[in-house]
């Protein structure tokens, strides 16, 4: 098992009442899985994804990645994990405007390592079809191009799992198809993929489909 959650719970307090964004969640991801998580807005999908990426602290339960419990890691440990085993794509345009496309792709690597990675970054940009944009500023990119850069960035550290939060949420149908195809290519190269997406965008090659409702996760 590559990634597994056991009784994972995360709650928030809202107007004096406890609200469970994730309740006793059990999720399992094998290294060859392409997992889609769907659900209505506010059902807890993004919270779950961010718990998996070590961006949020769980109230209780465990998240095991390659047998290592993320809930027991400190900030530096989690950051190191995000910079190596996990490739994360946040919602919307997540590129840093102060840096070129190429630097955005290199950034996760340089946050934790000192060796040069520009050649690999160029290769990744070529793989996602935007090698010619490496010197551009993110502000000049279209939504689809920005998403491709984010995908290239998430792959720079050769992660074992790619986690994407609504990567096609604000894209037109054609660009959505391109991005989904890109995820399938990543998956084909041996990277497990966990994607929060809309029902209508579930690709045919999905290996597991989970539905989130009021913090409860169910396998379809």
């Amino acid at each position: 098992m590559l990634l597994e959650t056991i009784d994972l719970t995360k709650s928030y307090e809202r107007r004096g009442e406890r609200f469970y964004a994730a309740y006793n969640v059990a999720l399992s991801v094998e290294s060859d899985d392409f997992v889609c998580i769907t659900g209505q807005s506010g059902s807890g999908k993004s919270t779950l994804l961010n718990l998996l990426a070590g961006l949020l602290h769980a109230d209780s339960g465990s998240i095991l990645l390659d047998g290592e419990d993320l809930c027991k890691l400190n900030d530096a440990g989690l950051a190191a994990l995000r910079g190596s085993k996990i490739g994360y794509i946040p919602q919307g345009n997540s590129l840093l405007q102060n840096f070129s496309v190429l630097d955005n792709v290199c950034l996760p690597w340089y946050l934790t390592r000192k060796s040069n990675v520009r050649a690999q970054a160029r290769e990744l940009l070529a793989r996602v079809g935007i090698a010619h944009l490496e010197r551009e500023n993110p502000a000049s990119l279209s939504g689809g191009e920005a998403r491709r850069v984010a995908i290239a960035r998430s792959l720079i550290a050769n992660p074992s799992v790619l986690i994407a939060d609504e990567p096609t949420g604000d894209l037109d149908p054609k660009t959505t198809d391109d991005i989904i195809r890109m995820f399938s290519e990543v998956h084909a190269q041996g990277v497990a993929v966990v994607v929060v997406t809309h029902e209508r965008e579930i690709p045919s090659f999905t290996t597991k489909h989970y539905v989130m409702e009021n913090g409860h996760l169910a396998l379809q």
Partner: protein, 406 residues
């Protein structure tokens, strides 16, 4: 930005370049604060140095001057405002018979003219080497040659060097010595022996605008002031009182050195106190304004920091980015401020001295360098200090919260 490895420094520089207007505002704020704090500290040191200098140079217990020339005398002493005034020899002789005086020495003050007759407007101070106990020891300490007849020793602000000639009342006098800076009127004065002074007074009287000698008197019959030391065990104030009461009708005033020192020191200490409070207020104001700027800026950048966390940055890394950014901006501001101080305060220190109209002795080079470094560093750290709160807050937030708040 593109090219090269992406270090914390590069991320910080990228953020600065991306928000140029904010960066320029912060740099300007710190530059102005540094200018005020460093300039103010220099001023404070200069005024303190001035007080110490008066203490060191007022080598007599008291001075007898014409009552009507009291302010002129103090002006000549503290700021070098040139003036000419007289005490007749007869009056001086009678004053010196006052009980309790151990030793005395006369001085003659002559102002030059700001005209073609004279090289520059200076205060000429004639002293009698036979009786002098104030100027001579000072010349000896500074290893300056005692001026002979027709020779002059110049104060530090007089723009001549030893060996030059200075035209005074159309006569050429040779410079035989130049004194160290005192921060007092002496810096703008020219010292001559009494014979030269009498000769110069005779020439001075030939020009229009000269202060006329008392009726029937010649240059040989007048002095301007008499410096006194009282006998051991005698109170200066008692001799002062005797002279002031005994010569009430003779336009004579006896001023104790301590009185000049105390009143000047009191005024300067008040100025220094106010200056210190103002400088501290400026520093705290800068920290406060920067704290607001950084808090607003970091609120605006929550998403950016959230993304950095999401792609592998630790909290420590985020703190380092924020503090590096603040340090770069405030370092640049402090450097600019110190640079402006160097460009303004040093070249124009003489003008500042004259404008202040009080004893002002600028700090020596080493002290000035130390002030520049300390004030520069003090102002440069305002940024990192002001950003600590915001940096801690942003690092404490959960990464997701940062992304969502953006």
């Amino acid at each position: 930005m593109s090219g090269g490895r992406i270090s914390t420094l590069k991320i910080a520089v990228g953020n600065i370049v991306h928000k140029r207007f904010r960066a320029v505002c912060i740099v300007l704020l710190i530059a102005v604060s540094t200018l005020l704090i460093t300039g103010g500290t220099m001023l404070g040191f200069g005024l303190t140095g001035g007080v110490k200098s008066i203490n060191a140079r007022l080598g007599a217990d008291a001075m007898v001057v014409p009552r009507s020339a009291g302010e002129s005398y103090e002006g000549a002493l503290l700021t070098g405002s040139p003036s000419t005034f007289y005490l007749t020899k007869g009056t001086v002789e009678r004053v010196l018979q006052t009980e309790g005086i151990a030793r005395s020495s006369p001085q003659l003050f002559i102002s030059t003219f700001d005209s073609a007759h004279c090289a520059s407007l200076v205060q000429i101070i004639g002293f009698d080497p036979k009786t002098d106990f104030v100027v001579t020891p000072w010349l000896k300490t500074a290893s300056v040659t005692e001026p002979g007849y027709g020779e002059i020793v110049i104060g530090n602000n007089v723009q001549l060097v030893v060996g030059n000639k200075m035209t005074v009342f159309l006569l050429e006098l040779e410079v035989v010595g130049k004194l160290d800076k005192t921060g007092m009127g002496f810096d703008n004065s020219v010292f001559v022996n009494m014979d030269t002074a009498k000769m110069l007074l005779t020439e001075y009287e030939k020009f229009d605008g000269a202060t006329p000698l008392p009726e029937g008197a010649t240059a040989e019959d007048v002095y301007s002031a008499v410096l006194l030391d009282v006998e051991k065990g005698v109170e200066i104030s008692s001799v002062q009182r005797k002279i002031n009461l005994g010569f009430r009708d003779d336009d004579v005033s006896c001023v104790a050195s301590q009185t000049i020192l105390e009143s000047t020191a009191k005024n300067l200490n008040l100025v220094i106190g106010v200056l210190t409070v103002l400088l501290a207020a400026i520093w705290f104001f800068a920290v406060f304004v920067l704290a607001i700027i950084f808090t607003l800026a970091l609120n605006e950048r929550q998403r950016e920091f959230g993304i950095l966390r999401a792609i592998g940055a630790t909290r420590r890394k985020l703190t380092a980015i924020v503090i590096t950014e603040a340090s770069l901006l405030c370092g640049a501001g402090a450097l600019a401020g110190v640079g402006v101080v160097c460009l303004i305060v040093f070249p124009y220190s003489t003008l500042i001295e004259r404008t202040l109209k009080t004893a002002y002795l600028p700090p020596q080079s080493l002290v000035a360098a130390a002030i520049l470094v300390l004030c520069g560093v003090g102002c440069a750290v305002t940024g990192p200090l002001a950003s600590l709160f915001s940096a801690a807050r942003i690092a404490k937030n959960e990464a997701l919260a940062n992304i969502q708040e953006g």
